[in-house]
Amino acid sequence: MAGGTDVFPARAHRIAWGNPSEADWLDITAIPELRGITLSGNSWRIGAATSWAALRDADLPAGFDALREAARQVGGRQVQARGTIGGNLCNASPAADGVPPLLVLDAEVELASTRGRRRLKLGEFILGNRRTARAADELLVALHVPAARAEARSVFLKLGARSHLVISIAMVAADAEGRVAVGACSEVARLWDGTPLAPMDDVRGSAAYRHAAAAELVARAQARLAA
């Protein structure tokens, strides 16, 4: 457990429908290595337990604008203060707002266990709806972003059915170098290469709608960057 903003709601739901989980929790938020945003050499390091609020309020180069905008729109300030970027990635919801900006930033995740450390491209880490490449004994300790990527201006556009506290129907991150990622329009958010998405039909929107909306958001993001 990091910020608990995914695990507590899931727990409440399971209890309500008579399916409580007996798993123990390990609170990882007091591990110093999991915190902080630092630049070392040619790479930015973001501790996995960095909160959305810390990202939102951090002074970072323009490449992080999309991520910071995502942070500003995740839940309300309550969720931003406690929810973490690592939790967002490990929870691996198709609508996780952190993923498209980090895909555009070409982020890598660093995993650690008693067996050692390894790094994966974010795209290789998230495998599906609520599925990641994290082994049961691994912790996500940090994200690494190439410093060069962090220089290109970026934007984030989120589409939901109300103003605040809303899960995305679709969202897009893009940077001035032409990299674009789309979320909530396929099982896993992905870099946009023009090939068709495979959006889901759900209570928030139909597949056909997501297709149209994603294309429109991409166009708007690019127009904004061009402006």
């Binding site: 457990m1 910020g3 608990g4 903003t5 507590f8 709601p9 409440a12 739901h13 209890i15 309500a16 429908w17 008579g18 399916n19 409580p20 929790w25 609170d27 938020t29 609020a53 500003r72 839940g75 309300g76 300030r77 309550q78 969720v79 203060a81 406690r82 589409l159 059915a161 109300r162 103003s163 605040h164 506290l165 809303v166 899960i167 129907i169 209570v203 928030r204 929107g205 139909s206 056909a208 709608y209 149209a212 909306a213 429109e216 958001l217």
Partner: protein, 883 residues
Amino acid sequence: MTALLVNGVPRELALDGGTRLADALRDSLGLTGTKLGCDAGDCGACTVLVDGAQACACLTPLGQCAGAEVETIEGIAATPEGQALMARFHAHGAAQCGICTPGMIVAATELLRRNPTPSEAEVEEALGGVLCRCTGYRRIIDAVRGVEAQAETGTVGARLPRVDGAPKLDGTERYGADLAPADALWLRAIRSPHAHARFTIGDVASFLAAHPGITRVLTAADVPGRNGYGIYPHIKDQPVFAEHTALYRGDAVAAVIGTRAALEALRLEALPITWEKLEALDDPRAALNAPALHAQFPDNVLAEGFVRSGDVETALREAAHVVQGDWQTSFVEHAYIEPEAGYARRIGDRIEVWSSTQAPAMDREEVAGVLGLPMEAVRIIPSACGGGFGGKLDAGIQPMLAVAAWVLDHPVRAIWPRSESMAASTKRHPARITARAGCDAEGRLLALDFEGIYDTGAYASWGPTVAGRVPVHATGPYRVPNVRARARAVHTHQPPSGAFRGFGVPQAAIAQEALWDRLADACGLDRLEFRIRNALVAGDVTATGQKLDHSAGQRLCLEALRPAWAELRAKAAARNARGGVLRHGVGVAGMWYGIGNTGMSNPSDMRLVLGTDGRITFFNGAVDIGQGSSTVLAQIAAEALGLPVAALRHVNGDTATTPDAGKTSASRQTFVSGRAAMEAALDLRQKILRGSNGVLGWDGALTLDGAPFRPSAPIEGLGRFDPPTVPLDANGQGIPYATYGFAAQLCALAVDVKLGTIQLQRIVAAHDVGRAINPTLVEGQIHGGIAQGIGLALMEEYLPGRTENLHDYLIPSFGDVPPIETILIEEREPLGPYGAKGVGEPALVATAPAIFSAIRDATGATIHRIPALPHRVLEALKETGRW
């Protein structure tokens, strides 16, 4: 052991680090000002500050607070900054039911500490994590920003801050979950996960043996009296615990009693219940020709309402213009932020139930019925009600708590988790409406043919009320000489549909107003002028044959919109001329609403007692669910007595001491109970003065002609009012209501034609309320009703098993309610107290149709499937061929 600072006081808590901060605060420290509305981060009611930052106490593990400073409403309320903020909330009427208020004040405190002069947008962003279902947010924004409020003292007509306001602000108000005997056991209902299933309950004894914390499993066999409750005396169809067959997902089949920990650890599969899934009906049209859910209603038609006047077919044949359409709406969840909660305890051969409710007197009947007890043996003590909107009119938690406490002879409490509350409780009826209407070449309405099928779900609840009310209101507040209107409430295996602000009328208004827009266009008339031409005025006769003698202010409401209509339409046209993906439009809709029950007696009794100490106690059985009846009735009583409101002490709702004021529904408390309160006060005044023309006064106790007045025995003033109505005949002819509220609203918005999203820009609402006893509270109702109308129109869709939480079921948040301008029209109602009618439900009815009218104005797209989620709007836009 976790050491932390709570409101400046060092505390050490010997609790597991994974304990939720909310539980530590509420249960271990008794700080119940932190409210729980969802247990999932979605409502923000539990907002506290942890090291100065907002946090949901329901999502924060205690272990993460080690060494931290936690501030709750109790702490903030004790600071000067907190008190200043609370005073502003009070003056603005920014707390209605109050369940969200502690969270709002805590969130606002965080904002104001870092930014003492926030903009509107900054308030919305900072408080965006807290939901309010009552106020529509605008007043909260004003209070946080320190916009000057017009609080006044005085009686009728004064903007008096609510008399019960203080405890709602500082966290001391007690809601259903905030009080219970220390030794109470917990109850947990076991509910069907299937929409339709047969079940058998097996070996309970070995289940109990294997679950030490669980004391008892209750089933239908344990219900001592009648295993059924329901609104109508002849349809007590909803069982406390179903017998053999569950009729919807959420139907209670049993209850388990035990310690809280044992209940939370309970796995449903451990229960000795075997399910056999059966085919479930989810389409009311199909249900008309399907096997019956209840033998009493073989064609699944629970109730039918019908109104006929004139000759519709001939009139439509002769009409210059005829239009038609069909509409489908969704289940709407009340989403009161306070889920059902309470406790029951047995005292010898009597039972006492404390719970959140809108209808204590009805709860009393139901509890007596299921226990097989005389009414005198039942006492209902309403807790503060954290929102109702119709959803807490039905008994739900009370019968099962009462059965448990009775059978175990031990106090038993329960709090329904959010998803259980949503699955189990009643909903707004989804409606399928087909309608045709015609007018002459000059735009005079000639005929309306209306057919509504309302999905009433598994049990009757208020279905008959909805079926009866809809056809009466189908024309809206307009003269339509030829009418055929039918509404049927049809059973399906869906959640029971019941009472929800407007009893089916908001759905019908969507159809009626859409037809008027098309007819206006067909005649080449302005949409507002078309409505003005057809508006009911005093002297007109309605489709039920009722002549409206007084207080029919529909035309005045519409006319009051003219300036804003012209201004906003010009603005929209100018913006549209500039092009772009945003298309601007303005819509308008009217509505009327009969106050009180339909063609049925619905009396209210009120009582005031002057004690020997010279103080006056107001025994008021009307439950204030946030709408402000306690304040309004006090203003009326004080006016009639000729004394200040401060002269009254209040006893509310307790069925042991207050007379029956009827339920808080049908917008009736101001009109019906208000008149009863006026009569009671006049009675008391007369008895005190005994024919003399002395002058009553107040100096902390009663004075007569300036001298203290202390009667030797208490003096009682009694008042009763039952609005005069005439039951409807087979053709729906009669006098269904003694009076009607009228309104017209307009809405300016922009449609993003590429994304199908809607940006509301402004709403102007003109309401004929007879007399605004308290303008601030009237406006509060209008704001809150509009917010719910916005939800109905644009985002709310309850799907059993899928949108069963406040994460997936969206209600309007900060930023979804645009600036609202209210215009109060006061066409005095002679029957009402000082001319007043009601406004609780009227506030909501016109909003959704005004929004759809504006979407059509902006883009030509007509919305038939509601809510207008972005994907539906985009589809409708495509159909126009223009976008």
